[in-house]
Amino acid sequence: MAFLWGRNRQRSALDLVRSSKELLLRLTKDDGQLQKTEEELARTLSVMKTTLQGSPDTDAQPEQVHQLVSTILSESLLPLLVSNMHRLPFEARKDTQTIVSNVFRFRNAGSTSNEPDALKEVLRLQPGIIVNLCMGYEKRESAGACGGILKEALKWDAVAAVILYDEPFPDGKTIDIYNDVDVSKKSSGNGVFWKFFDWIDKSSFEVSADAFDCFRVILTKHKQLVSQYINTNFDLFFDKYNNMLVKSESYVTKRQSLKLLGEVLLDRQFYEVMTRYVDSGDNLKLVMWQLRDERRMVQYEAFHVFKIFAANPNKSYEVQRFLVMNKQRLLKFLPRFLEDRTDDDQFNDEKAWLVKAIGNLPDSTSALQPPGAITPQTAGRSVQQQTGLAQVH
């Protein structure tokens, strides 16, 4: 092994990339020398990392970086690295995360394109890498590193688009977002995006929390893209969201998904999604049940979704009916709802407002107009109040 040490510094980019490819391939088959392979691979990757980002004491050399990045791309090292992430030894996983992130960040001098150059090339030629990064959530070992790369790369909407519009192709190809995407076409529900629901719902805490974090980034970073997508796939999306996340057995998932739901619905960019969501009586029911969850933070997050239903100036007949049917109960329930939150002014203001708004509802459902109709003055008042609410939020 000693000879390797001596040469480390001088090894050429091509040498580095080729040998790590070789080692990665050897890693997949058990040839009895696993430990040796791992050690060697870890060392190679560590050198690569240092070349790309420098060390605390030395800066990276732009020339070397350029050379290494282009070799990594031309030799297609990334797909191998990503798909073998879980097999890598502990430190090598972190080094790999750094390597991939650095490649994704790489820009040629004077480049003016939107995405960094290397990432752009990946998106055009090998978008499967992004999908495979997501698949890293399948395994505990790879979740952290893959998630870390993804969350950083999601800064670019093209990355989010690859995840959203991914569809399994029989030939194993990944969709070309620059040419093949039809935003009005409904998703089959088999793309990698939909797997996030399972990862969040079914994984251990560490993986689930990380996957949720990534899911949140996808939903909130590129709102325009996502709101269009959710609009197209509204039923599928909320079927999964409601049933797998909001109704999740896991306290963490339930609480976080309610919180995210409240944030998304109150976002201007998601206006259309919001109006569709709060039209549904079933959604209202679900949220009202969460108000009665025995855990106060769940109650609290549910409150912030519930208020949107009540503030909606154009409540659907169904929603109005449910609210009216429960008017007295709500009026009894709300004043004492989380009443120890004395120092949360916004919450108390909104609660007081809700009580008032619900108090203004008719006492019996017979007073309601047939589906679709609303009284003009109700609409006017609520609009005003709703905008107030949105600002406060």
Partner: protein, 741 residues
């Protein structure tokens, strides 16, 4: 997963939860398990998750190793390796360390730091309390509660975190810092071990924050120490981070080079253990883990929501409900008395129906948990405790009868050193306190205080001076039944139409607020500045008693406060001593009042009656300036903008003729202060208003005379109430400005 562990005794409580020793049954290995109650805070779970992912990416013999984490109920369990030797701080209990031991600890610590730094992590809270030892004397870095992971090795951080005494100047100055910040803390830690306390530990931690960047860095002095050691510390404590050596370079320092092997430290561990056993044997009160049993009873059928269909899957059984049921339920609904919540029975019934009592935090509805979201500042187990280690033994906080999970979180920070400040995400609207001292009462002889500070991000979230503009004015138009005189009259006498919103609880809410905003912080502040042990104890008893009152009877608390404030206000000497801001305001008011003067008959105590035209909601704009710039309205104004929405409309409603009156003793020597005050534009505006307003009818004046000192006139109680609200805000504002001053 949880079933694999057999929980044993409590080891201590850290910055974020209680730590227990446990046996991992499959491997028969001891582990330490940290329980974090996720219900306990509004904080995003992401923060905790970050700590875990940071730990999970550490793999070094010099860093406490992470095993697993999972959620059970609302608690997050983090399983870590168990280190039986206690913390370095525990080793200091018998007395400061000898240099040879310090060298060993430093050497091991530097290797740990080198590892962390090479993987892009900054610990940001290096101090003796966060350095753990195994039984064999191995040294490990622990508590990554505020550590940072850099995505780019060259990037810098800005967040203001750490524990004051150990914080590097560049961290305090928030000018961007990197790994070198840990090296500073390391130097301070070395001094801490040599002297038993970090330098400047006699100074209040908030004051230290100014001193560190301003003054020369501390140095180790005296003949007891070798030149190498002093030099080592001087290198670490260089105010210019660029000139501070890296961990790797320090490992080559002569002081480190001649350090012995870590098993030397076993002697220290034994010494600490002996000390512990001999000194504290009597105080042993081992606390064992106990499962919180909660009945997960589902909500009472009777009062569940009514949708004519089925329940959500959460209440597992999906019942087929026919349309008939719908009607039946509707009829029941109508029997329920309408939502006039002043009806206590109704309220109770509603509460029972809501089944909040059955919730995991059994005492949600009970006042005592006001603090779940703010326990960073609330005293909850004020019981004096003996300074103790993270050892099994010395935790004396006895079980509290309502031992809910939350109440247990309280006995934090056994080791009596401050847990670090956490980075605070600016997005959180509530529940974060800007600068609240944070400590358990009387639990230590140490002078270290805990406190947290809001990150200097775009906007400090909750500066009390920046309360969002009153949005309430529109929602609550109805006068709220905020009347402190309630106890004197039967409720029905109040013709006040209670809105269906939170009526009879308003006082309770204010009472709670007074406690959390004013009383509790003042207790903590006073406690913090009291050094005498007996005095501290006495004080913590009062604090405990008061927190009991707050728990049991917030209304009573408010009334008590009110009457205290009234009496103080009524006595000119006390008023000028205790309520200077108010007096100044009053002074200003009276001066201005002189222009449209109404001397209150001048009979008693020279009080001045100021009459002001109706002040409306627009004033809230000026509210932000209220504490800093005394505006004319003084108490009058205050009363109209008590910041806590509901009382405002009330105040207006109570004074007939749309004008309000205030009595205040004139205090001539305060006049001098007036020149220093600025009068804002709004003030000028209001001056004009005041001028144009008609003088008050004489009747009014004589009315006022009747109720001079000690007399409480029905209808004017709000003055006292608002007085304490104001006082609370004043105290809070003071705390806010402290670090910035």
């Amino acid at each position: 997963m949880a079933d694999d562990y057999q929980m044993l005794e409590e080891l201590g409580s850290g910055s974020f939860g209680v730590v227990y020793r446990a046996l991992h049954i499959p491997t028969a290995e001891y582990v330490a398990i940290k329980h974090i109650d996720l219900e306990g805070s509004d904080d995003d779970i992401r923060e905790i998750q970050q700590e875990i992912s940071l730990l999970a990416t550490c793999n070094s013999p010099y860093v406490t190793s992470y095993r697993a984490s999972f959620v059970r109920g609302t608690k997050l369990w983090i399983v870590m390796e168990y280190l039986g030797g206690g913390s370095c701080l525990d080793l200091l209990k018998p007395g400061p360390m000898e240099e040879k031991y310090i060298a060993v600890v430093m050497k091991e610590l530097l290797q740990g730091l080198d590892y962390l730094h090479s993987t892009g992590k900054i610990h940001r809270d290096i101090k003796a309390a966060n350095i753990l030892l195994s039984d064999a004397g191995l040294v490990k870095i622990a508590d990554f509660g505020v550590a940072a992971q850099l995505t780019n090795i060259k990037s810098q951080r800005l967040t203001f975190v750490g524990t004051p005494f150990w914080m590097a100047p560049e961290v305090i100055q928030e000018a961007g810092y990197d790994f070198h910040a840990d090296i500073w803390s390391l130097g301070i830690t070395a001094m801490e071990m040599a002297q038993g306390e970090p330098p400047r530990s006699d100074i209040h931690p908030m004051k230290v924050l100014f001193i560190i960047p301003k003054e020369h860095p501390p140095r180790l002095e005296g003949n007891r120490w070798t030149k190498e050691f002093k030099d080592f510390i001087a290198l670490c404590l260089n105010k210019d981070p660029e000139k501070r050596p890296s961990a790797k370079m320090l490992l080559k320092h002569a002081f480190i080079k001649r350090a012995g092997r870590p098993d030397m430290l076993r002697e220290l561990v034994l010494r600490a253990r002996d000390f512990e056993q001999n000194g504290r044997a009597m105080d042993r009160d081992v606390r064992y883990y106990e499962e919180t049993l909660k009945s997960m009873s589902s909500a009472d059928e009777e009062d569940d929501w009514v949708f004519d269909t089925v329940r959500p899957s959460k209440n597992a059984t999906r019942k087929a409900v026919n349309t008939a049921k719908h009607t039946v339920k509707r009829r029941k609904l109508q029997r329920i008395p309408s939502g006039n919540a002043t009806n206590v029975e109704n309220a109770t019934a509603a509460l029972e129906a809501m089944n909040l009592d059955a919730a995991p935090l059994g005492d949600i509805t009970n006042a005592s948990t006001t603090g779940t979201t703010r326990d960073m500042s609330t005293i909850r187990t004020p019981k004096p405790r003996i300074a103790s280690s993270r050892k099994v033994s010395a935790i004396t906080a006895r079980k509290i009868s309502i031992a809910s999970p939350t109440s247990r979180r309280v006995s934090r920070n056994i080791s009596s050193h401050a847990p670090p400040t956490r980075p605070v995400s600016a997005a959180h609207p509530a529940s974060k306190q800007p600068l609240g001292p944070d400590m358990s009462f009387g639990n230590s002889t140490s002078t270290v205080r805990q406190f947290k500070r809001v990150s200097s991000g775009p906007k400090p979230t909750i500066s009390p001076l920046q309360q969002p503009p009153q949005t309430t004015s529109s929602p609550i138009e109805d006068p709220s039944p905020f009347d402190s005189d309630a106890e004197n009259r039967p409720p029905p006498v109040h013709p006040v139409v209670a809105p269906p919103s939170l009526p009879s609880t308003k006082e309770a809410i204010l009472g709670r607020r007074a406690f959390t905003k004013a009383l509790d912080p003042s207790f903590q502040e006073t406690h913090a500045s009291t050094s005498d042990q007996t005095k501290r104890e006495a004080l913590s008893h009062v604090a405990e008693a008061w927190s009991n009152l707050n728990a049991v009877d917030p209304e009573g608390e408010l009334l008590l406060l009110k009457s205290m404030m009234d009496r103080i206000q009524a006595d000119p000497k006390l008023a000028s001593a205790l309520l200077p801001a108010r007096v100044v305001n009053a002074q200003l008011a009276s001066l201005r009042g002189n222009r449209s003067p109404v001397k209150g008959g001048g009979k008693k105590s020279g009080s001045v009656v100021v009459m002001v035209a109706e002040e409306t909601a627009e004033e809230t704009d000026a509210e932000a300036m209220q504490t800093s710039t005394p505006t004319k309205g003084s108490n009058v104004r205050t009363s109209s903008t008590p910041q806590q929405s509901p009382s405002k409309p009330q105040a207006q409603q109570q004074s007939p003729g749309g004008a309000r009156l205030v009595l205040n003793p004139q205090n001539p020597h305060l006049q001098r202060m007036r020149s220093g005050q600025q009068l804002s534009a709004t003030t000028a505006e209001k001056d004009a208003k005041a001028l144009s307003s008609p003088p008050p009818p004489p009747v009014m004046a004589s009315l006022l005379d009747e109720k001079m000192p000690g007399r409480i006139e029905p209808g004017l109680e709000h003055v006292g109430l608002l007085g304490d609200v104001l006082f609370g805000r004043w105290a809070e504002g003071l705390r806010m400005r402290w670090p910035v001053a």
